[in-house]
């Protein structure tokens, strides 16, 4: 392969000078529509490696040789990258912010029996998909469960307002499963993905007279959607819950922001843990900006370092090491559930407050990880 010679890495304080370097391939969106997520992920990952190896970049004498690869959000490119890396002998793959890329990568991991720690992709099917696939972020079910903490689900009328695509339908199914299971009466208003005009749908939501409206929306039309909900009076009439996105989206709500209740995966400063401080410091020191998906990268690094520590060179051993692994992540105590690799982690309730011309998130409540843990996937 392209063996970058034996220009012996001056690994510093390694105890085992002879151990072979370990290749870690990170496939993520350096360019493409989700490049911003990719950037946060990468910064978090680098901070995480630093943190978990105490700045040595070396685990149990193995130097970590981390390479980053751009998939541009395109599954075709991602699969090519993965095959190339696996062909070159990589046993550890990580990354990807896009669900449509994470699934084929997980597929490659299973076919070729390599460890894969997926990135921020929230798609639920990744959980319990196969033995070799893990995740370093949260999944939609956790979002939905967090939303459920805003109302008492029992007997509540919950309307899911979402786009009519896999993401929206997945959220609807999740709400039906999680909140419906807790006794809520769930209905939905689904809007075509490409629609640019959805005022009438906002009115439909209003007419439904819900106790809680769960909004699952992504993409460029987010701002218009919130204005539509606000214009038709939905935000004034009922509790509207949605996930708080990355910093760039804070402004998308306009004045509607104050009327919305946010569940949140992460925003800088939400956790207040020591590890978080370490992460924030490291990212900022490296010139990065912490954001929604910074912890996902950080956690991925922590998991990979742990796997290498326990089972360098042996994929099965690494998998075994990760299953059931509990550690102190930036968001707090984090556990890789042994059975289906779901990542049990705390979630947050937040609100946006106006700060001059910009909006900043403020923590309302930390939601305990176990209370929003997704149902176990059993084959």
């Amino acid at each position: 392969a392209c063996a970058p010679t034996g220009a012996s890495s001056t690994g510093g304080s390694g105890d085992d000078e002879n151990a072979a370097p370990i290749d870690v391939g990170i496939v993520y969106s350096e360019s493409g529509p989700l490049a911003a997520y990719g950037a946060a992920y990468k910064q978090g990952f680098e901070a995480g490696i630093d943190h978990a190896t105490d700045g040595t970049g070396t685990v149990a004498g193995h130097e970590l040789n981390v390479t980053f690869h751009d998939d541009a959000g395109d599954p075709e490119k991602a699969v090519s990258q993965a095959k190339d890396l696996i062909g070159k002998g990589y046993q550890i793959l990580g990354g990807t912010v896009v669900s449509g890329v994470a699934l084929p990568l997980a597929e490659q991991a299973e076919q070729n029996k390599v460890l894969y720690v997926s990135g921020p992709a929230a798609v639920d099917t990744l959980t319990g998909l196969n033995r070799y696939t893990f995740r370093s972020g949260r999944q939609s079910l956790q979002d939905v469960a967090a939303a459920g903490t805003f109302v008492d689900p029992k007997g509540a009328k919950v309307v899911v307002f979402a786009q009519d695509n896999a993401f929206g339908q997945g959220n609807l199914a999740a709400v039906e499963g999680v909140l419906g299971g807790q006794g809520a009466e769930v209905s939905s208003v689904l809007v075509p993905e490409d629609a640019t005009e959805f005022t009438p749908f906002a009115k439909k939501v209003l007419d439904a007279g819900a106790d809680m409206v769960f909004v699952a929306w992504a993409g460029a039309t987010t701002g218009a959607m919130w204005q539509g909900l606000d214009q038709q009076g939905v935000l004034d009439e009922t509790t509207v819950v949605t996930g708080l996105g990355d910093v760039a989206t804070y402004g998308a709500y306009g004045d509607a922001a104050e009327k919305v209740s946010f569940l949140n995966h992460y925003f800088p400063g939400a956790a207040g843990t020591e590890t978080e401080t370490a992460m924030l410091d490291a990212v900022e020191a490296a010139g990065g900006t912490p954001d929604l998906f910074t912890p996902d990268g950080f956690v991925a690094a922590q998991m990979i370092v742990h796997a290498v520590e326990e089972g360098a060179g042996d994929v099965e051993a690494m998998v075994d090491a990760l299953e059931g692994y509990t550690f102190e992540g930036p968001k707090g105590e984090t556990t890789v559930r042994a059975t289906d690799h779901a990542l049990i982690q705390p979630m947050y309730q937040a609100k946006l407050v106006k700060d001059g011309d910009t909006w900043t998130p403020e923590l309302v409540e930390v939601i305990d990880g176990e209370s929003v843990a997704p149902a176990e996937v059993t084959e």
């Binding site: 392969a1 392209c2 350096e30 360019s31 751009d70 541009a72 395109d74 599954p75 075709e76 490119k77 699969v79 090519s80 990258q81 095959k83 190339d84 890396l85 696996i86 062909g87 070159k88 669900s99 449509g100 699934l103 084929p104 997980a106 597929e107 490659q108 076919q111 070729n112 798609v123 099917t125 009519d164 695509n165 896999a166 993401f167 339908q169 993905e193 490409d194």
Partner: protein
């Protein structure tokens, strides 16, 4: 004599390509590694499949003069069709493929029968609209069939083990090469066949064809369905290679890139389509590397921003070819050859030059 040397050359090339997985040839800057490595084989296999797809588009556009903006639909039909059949049923690979092919033919027949009612730009637009409808259906994940924007993984149970996993990339490479060869031969065959000649005649002068008693509509429909079925076949191989289906393959943009490949190579030239497709795929896959390279990162913003966008470079390249290389690469090659050949008084107005006249006046 000339024909014999071309044939021998083609055969030698084929043998060389077939042996690549057994050789260790590095092509720095173009390929990610040695030719036997899975990453490289994957990229090359992708090139061969794209070339095969471009050839099927060449049949449509270059031979019959039908500018379709919806060819991706049949490619996607192959990908998704096979993925769904393998996912939902226990039918083994080959019968499943046959089933999907029949479906592809039926789809092409219906869409072709409607869109061929109009000509020229209108034809392009109608095919675009149909493909768009297909894309909407795929993304909407109706009945949980297509997986929406997340795509669909290949259910490997029905697939022979020799075609699964990175260690078997070599086999997938050979499969892709065989598909390319197959499509090439079929296109060659059709082009040389009576129907192919009539199709070319229809492209040139539809009224004339009617005057000699021919049936342009039927001819175009035959070519349309054939080209679509080839696309479906390529789509199925693509599914195996990528071991998954993604909705990007069903977009109008994808058809546009096919158009770009064929024009890049030279409209009307089979080799042009192949070379254009391979070049495009390599550029598309490798320009990203250039974009992220240190050399680019060090440039001032005016240069760095455009250079770090692969699509910008490709688009610009394409514009330049259209403006300054009429007949694409094949046209340029023909002109070069003509100049080299002494005593030849033809100044490159070979059969490959130019774009077929739009049928249905675009006055």
């Amino acid at each position: 004599m000339n024909r014999v040397t071309t044939r021998l050359g083609g055969l030698a090339l084929l043998v060389l390509l077939g042996c690549l997985p057994l050789l260790a040839i590095p092509v720095p800057g173009v390929l990610p590694g040695y030719t036997y490595e899975p990453g490289t084989l994957q990229l090359l296999a992708l090139c061969w499949l794209t070339a095969a797809l471009a050839l099927s588009y060449h049949l449509l556009f270059g031979v019959a003069g039908l500018m379709s903006f919806g060819h991706a639909l049949y490619f996607a039909a192959g990908i998704y069709g096979l993925a769904i059949v393998l996912d939902r049923t226990d039918v083994p690979l080959l019968p499943a493929a046959a089933l999907v092919l029949v479906g592809g033919v039926a789809l092409a027949f219906v869409v072709g029968a409607i869109s061929l009612r109009v000509t020229g730009i209108s034809f392009a637009m109608v095919t675009l609209a149909f493909a768009q409808a297909g894309n909407v259906l795929v993304r909407r994940d109706q009945g949980d069939l297509t997986g929406g924007e997340e795509g669909l993984a290949l259910a490997t149970d029905g697939v022979p083990a020799a075609l699964v996993g990175v260690v078997n990339t070599r086999n997938l490479y050979w499969l892709a090469l065989v598909v390319l060869l197959f499509v090439y031969l079929v296109v060659l065959w059709i082009e040389r066949s009576r129907a192919g000649h009539v199709a070319a005649a229809v492209r040139e002068n539809e009224v004339r064809v009617r005057i000699i008693g021919g049936r342009p509509y039927l001819t175009k429909l035959v070519v349309f369905v054939l080209a679509a079925s080839l696309a479906t076949v390529v789509g199925m191989a693509y599914l195996l290679l990528q071991s998954g289906a993604s909705p990007a393959t069903s977009t109008a943009d994808f058809t546009l890139t096919l158009l770009v490949m064929v024009v890049l190579g030279g409209v009307g030239s089979r080799w042009g389509a192949v070379v254009g497709a391979v070049l495009y795929t390599l550029l598309d896959q490798r320009l990203a590397e250039l974009a992220h390279s240190e050399a680019v990162a060090g440039l001032p913003a005016v240069l760095r921003i455009p250079l770090s966008e692969p699509m910008f470079l490709l688009g610009t390249c394409f514009v330049l070819v259209v403006l300054f290389l009429p007949g694409g690469l094949a046209g340029a090659a023909a002109r070069l050859a003509a100049r080299r050949r002494p005593g030849s008084d033809q100044d490159g107005s070979g059969p490959a030059s130019g774009v077929p006249a739009p049928e249905g006046a675009v006055a």
